[in-house]
């Protein structure tokens, strides 16, 4: 029983009208695992979370918590709690009353409630805020109360519904680190929904990349980043440049009908290809590398850590991140080079 999954989704499907929002999704979340559902809007990640939370019922498939099937149960009978994007705190209840709510609903003995509330608020560093009302809290504090309120009942699995997306950047980073710390200390099981790949990378045990209601890949963050299952996963995670090229007889012929000056040391087979390289893996002024391209500098952006150089070659547009300033000026023809291992090709 020790290695039983906290949560299992088994071929879960949900359609709204004719639109399939969740399409045959299967996920197992082990005890203490932190699994992120990552995808663009409309990819079905929030719908999946709502099916787990019990706010929607699946059309087909099974959902099990600790091995027991629960998809027929309403939200209030499931051992899950959600941290909502808006916090969704009860505005007319104090912080302490908000945190105590789930305990009261679960019939926890009165004498046990107060110490557990106190402890939960300590964990999220909000001791002393017990008697405040949500309207008197900042956005970050509200989300911490929401976190305490969800965690205090010790659910089988915590559900995070983009909890940080309404906060500003610095607060987002701070809370992200805090959730990570709590996960390591307490070891709760969690499903975390986000469209922010940085958040997904930083926090997750595993990431499930979703598109169109399906899971495209589910794996550890470094695997998803380093060994994407397909083109969608590659392009969705991290930035990349796409070189469209038609290859004839082992050499690059043209891109969208215009001839280009593209060298490939180990070209894929003949045909139309999309070649992807990360902007940080391309090097400026390096005609000596195994792969290369001559392109005209269009304009430059300063991004803080790096300069981003935007190039045009035939109909291609690409950009290269370079740590320092270079002497090139817009209109110059520049050599760009990269290693074969840094390139990935899709047909």
């Amino acid at each position: 029983m020790a290695d039983m999954n906290a949560l299992e989704l088994d071929s879960v499907r949900r359609a709204y009208g004719g639109v399939v929002a969740v399409d045959n999704v299967s996920i197992d979340v082990k005890r203490g695992e932190f699994v992120t559902l990552l995808g663009p809007s409309g990819s079905g990640k929030t719908s999946t979370l709502r099916l787990i939370g019990g706010f929607e019922r699946p059309d087909a498939g099974a959902i099990r918590i600790n091995g027991i099937r629960i998809d027929h149960l309403p939200a209030y009978q499931r051992d899950t709690t959600t941290i909502f994007q808006s916090g969704a705190l009860f505005p007319h209840k104090t912080v302490a009353e908000n945190v105590a709510y789930g305990l009261r609903m679960r019939g926890v003995a009165k004498a046990d409630i107060a110490p557990r509330v106190k402890q939960a608020l300590e964990v999220v560093r909000l001791s002393g805020y017990e008697q405040r009302y949500p309207a008197q809290l900042s956005g970050g504090q509200k989300q911490r109360v929401a976190l305490a309120r969800a965690m205090v009942v010790r659910p089988a699995i915590l559900l995070f519904d983009e909890p940080l997306s309404a906060l500003d950047l610095s607060l987002r980073l701070q809370l992200r680190a805090e959730i990570k710390r709590l996960h390591e200390e307490i070891g709760f099981s969690a499903i975390y929904v986000t469209h922010d790949q940085g958040e997904a990378m930083a926090m997750s045990s595993r990431i499930a990349v979703m598109r169109g209601g399906r899971i495209e890949q589910i794996d550890r963050p470094e695997k998803v980043f380093g060994e994407p299952a397909n083109e969608f996963v590659y392009t969705f995670i991290g930035e990349s440049c796409c070189l469209k090229a038609r290859i004839v007889a082992g050499g690059a012929a043209d891109s969208d009908g215009e001839p280009i000056d593209l060298r490939l040391s180990n070209p894929p087979g003949d045909g139309a290809w999309r070649l992807y390289i990360r902007p940080s893996r391309m090097h400026l002024g390096r005609a000596d590398m195994p792969n290369g391209l001559k392109a005209r500098l269009d304009f430059t952006e300063f991004l803080g850590d790096v300069h981003r150089y935007h190039f045009k070659a035939a109909k291609l547009e690409l950009f290269v991140d370079h740590p320092g300033a270079v002497a090139h000026r817009p209109g110059d023809l520049v050599d760009i080079g990269w290693q074969t291992a840094d390139m990935i090709a899709y047909q």
Binding site: R57, A62, R64, G67, I68, R69, D71, H72, L73, P74
Partner: protein, 302 residues
């Protein structure tokens, strides 16, 4: 976990039960309201409809039967035709007056600085919060020969002899408008509040005189509100019979008054029921017509 087939059936049964509960829940929640509406509105209307075909013989309230006499009488009965005409005339004139005053009042409150707003709204709320009987009595002390109006005019030297406006149509209109004004005001104020005041400045910037701005900008924007306010006033004015009958001349018989007279005075239940049915149909017709007009307008605009 090797639960196999039994795992399938338990959730299905639970789901069916939950579905049934979800379908039943709204009806349970609405049960008290529906009970009131059906038992004390639907049933009485049906009862009245049946009653209106009964006969009235001698001094008995009604005698079961089936006759169209009570409706036929309306066509021939001078009193009823007079009352119908009076009711329509009163309601129409008072609604027009109410809408004009209510419109000006709402526009005033809309244009005035915010600090006046609450005071004006409190003022407009007053007629809503006091009983119609108190309103009647207030005007009843204002209009007669020994009333405040006459006293104020004489003591200020404007007139020499005491006057009485009591039991005139003017008094009836003053009272009726007083009752319907707040509804009208609040409907129109909510319409005005939905308009961006900048349209006025824009119009003025383009060189429009105030009157022209009103005519070409404000009036079209508030057309729907005017229709709604008019309908509301009209329906209220048709049904309010105490005010005109207490303040107006003795000859000012409205349908409402006639119904009361037939019921409490003459104990002619079938006749009273027939009048009520006609009044009910009239009110429903006004609602339908206004609905149709306003929805057509929005269909054209949107």
């Amino acid at each position: 976990m090797s639960i196999g087939t039994s795992e399938m059936s338990a959730p299905d049964a639970a789901r069916r039960k939950a579905g049934l509960r979800a379908r039943l829940a709204p009806w349970l929640l609405m049960a008290p309201a529906l009970l009131i509406a059906v038992a004390f509105f639907g049933l009485p209307i049906a009862f009245m409809a049946r009653m209106s075909f009964n006969e009235h013989i001698d001094q008995r309230f009604y005698v079961p039967g089936f006759t169209f006499d009570n409706y036929a009488a309306m066509l021939t009965d001078q009193t009823f035709r007079g009352a119908l005409f009076t009711t329509m005339r009163l309601a129409l004139i008072s609604s027009v007056v109410t809408v004009v005053i209510g419109y000006a009042f709402a526009m005033l409150v809309w244009l005035k600085p915010k600090r006046w707003r609450l005071a004006f709204i409190a003022l407009a709320l007053c007629p809503l919060l006091i009983s119609e009987i108190s309103i009647i009595f207030g005007w009843w002390m204002f209009f007669p020969k020994n009333g405040l109006l006459s006293y104020a005019l004489v003591s200020s030297g404007l007139i020499t002899d005491k006057i009485s406006l009591m039991y005139t149509e003017f008094a009836a209109f003053v009272g009726l408008t007083y009752v319907t004004l707040p509804f009208c005001f609040f409907i129109l104020l909510s319409i005005f509040d939905g308009i961006d005041k900048k349209v006025l400045e824009a119009s003025a910037d383009l060189g429009s005189a105030p009157l022209r701005t009103f005519y070409e900008v404000l009036l079209p924007l508030t057309k729907g509100g005017i229709a709604a306010a008019f309908a509301q006033s009209f329906i209220w004015a048709v049904g309010t019979y105490a005010t005109p009958s207490a303040l107006g001349p003795d000859t000012l018989w409205t349908i409402g008054y006639l119904i009361q007279e037939q019921m409490l005075g003459k104990h002619n239940w079938p006749r009273a029921a027939a009048f009520s049915i006609v009044l009910t149909i009239g009110v429903a017709l006004v609602m339908v017509i206004v609905r149709a007009l306003t929805s057509k307008r929005t269909a054209l605009n949107g």
